[in-house]
């Protein structure tokens, strides 16, 4: 079975390293690239057409939300999993509005990254359990 190609986008190199370590321990995933800011993310996303972009919100411009608003239009096959430290309903709404398929808190990443990716691959949504599930379901139908 072909592996799922993942682009990592986060301005923190140690966070990228941690995410890469989790993904590489699993045959199913291939990290096809890493980006440290929004501009690089857009470039790599259009070059590599990954299956999933793991996308940080707070990054040197354009930020993750602005980035998300673009590839969802130009790369219909690419899904976006937002990963962020912002435990905020406002951010969750914004992520849903720009077309992300998932919203994972950084504090949950070690435990739930693979769960989140599997959901996205099977066409479902993922929202970190810190959020009210009714709210999550209404925002990410």
């Amino acid at each position: 079975m072909a592996s799922t190609r993942v682009l990592l986008s986060d301005d923190h190199s140690f966070m990228r390293r941690g995410l890469r370590t989790i993904l590489e321990a699993n045959d199913r995933y291939e990290v096809c690239g890493e980006a440290g800011d929004g501009r690089e993310t857009l470039e790599l996303a259009s070059q590599l057409a990954p299956d999933i972009v793991i996308l940080d919100i707070s990054m040197p411009p354009p930020n993750g939300l602005e980035v998300a608003a673009k590839p969802s239009q130009s790369l219909p096959g690419t899904k976006i999993l937002m990963i962020t430290m912002h435990d905020s309903e406002e951010m969750l709404r914004a992520a849903a509005a720009v077309g992300a398929s998932g919203y994972l808190l950084k504090s949950d990443a070690e435990e739930l990254l693979l769960v989140a990716l599997q959901r996205l691959e099977s066409g479902e949504r993922f929202v970190s359990p810190a959020f009210d599930s009714d709210l999550a379901n209404s925002l990410f139908p």
Binding site: D11, H12, S13, F14, R17, G18, T21, M85
Partner: protein, 216 residues
């Protein structure tokens, strides 16, 4: 030769994992422990006596800067490498004042982290070039704000309490965490507010966020 013992302190599991990989890839370096809060970092440092601690600034309970001060006191031979996403000359100054001899931004590369641990293992300071440039460029022009001067006068215990209150802990909870009487914790709060010229807990929280004692 004995392995270099490194302690990792960050509240994010994934970041600790990334740091652990980076350090363990290096021959002769060993991660001797991990901590998720500043308070745990101080405890583990005292127990494990590492050569180097890599510590995040933004952590619950006790932030990395306050923890650094306590670690410098309790374990003077442990070198402290601070990692942070706050890219400012204020932060660079505070890191140095706290007694850390290394400072790396989270957006710096893996190589910077390795070079920093390497330098600290030889008891040499390491500041990423971005930090050094920023600090040197701004040092001459730093404005002396009276509130900032006052802030320097908060005692370490007061700064700890400031963080706990800003994290939403009640006077009673603060007292339990620190093992002091509720009345003492109240007195500290009153002193903090007087020193900083703040008149409500809301103002105190705003102050703590603005000055990056806690995250918004």
């Amino acid at each position: 030769m004995n392995a270099l013992k490194v302690l990792i302190a960050d509240d994010h599991d994934v970041v600790r994992k990334g740091l652990r990989m980076l350090i363990e890839e290096h021959t002769g370096w060993q991660v001797c422990g991990e901590a998720r809060s500043g308070r745990e970092a101080v405890e583990k440092c005292t127990q494990l006596n590492p050569d180097v601690i890599v510590i995040d600034v933004s952590m619950p309970d006790l932030n990395g800067l306050e923890a650094t001060k306590q670690i410098r006191k309790a374990c003077p031979r442990t070198e402290v490498l601070v990692i942070t996403h706050h890219d400012s000359d204020e932060m660079a100054a505070e890191v140095m004042e706290a007694g850390a001899r290394g400072y790396v931004l989270k957006s710096d590369s893996d190589t910077d982290l390795v070079r920093a641990v390497e330098a600290l293992s030889h008891h040499k300071p390491f500041f990423t070039s971005r930090v050094t440039e920023m600090f040197l460029a701004n040092r001459g022009s730093r404005v002396t704000d009276p509130v900032e001067m006052m802030r320097g006068r908060l005692t370490p215990r007061e700064r700890e309490i400031l963080q706990l209150i800003a994290e939403g802990k009640t006077a009673k909870e603060v007292a339990t965490i620190l093992g002091i009487a509720t009345k003492t914790s109240d007195t500290h709060r009153t002193n903090i507010m007087r020193k900083l010229d703040l008149h409500s807990v809301a103002e105190l929280v705003r102050y703590a966020i603005r000055n990056k004692v806690v995250e918004p």
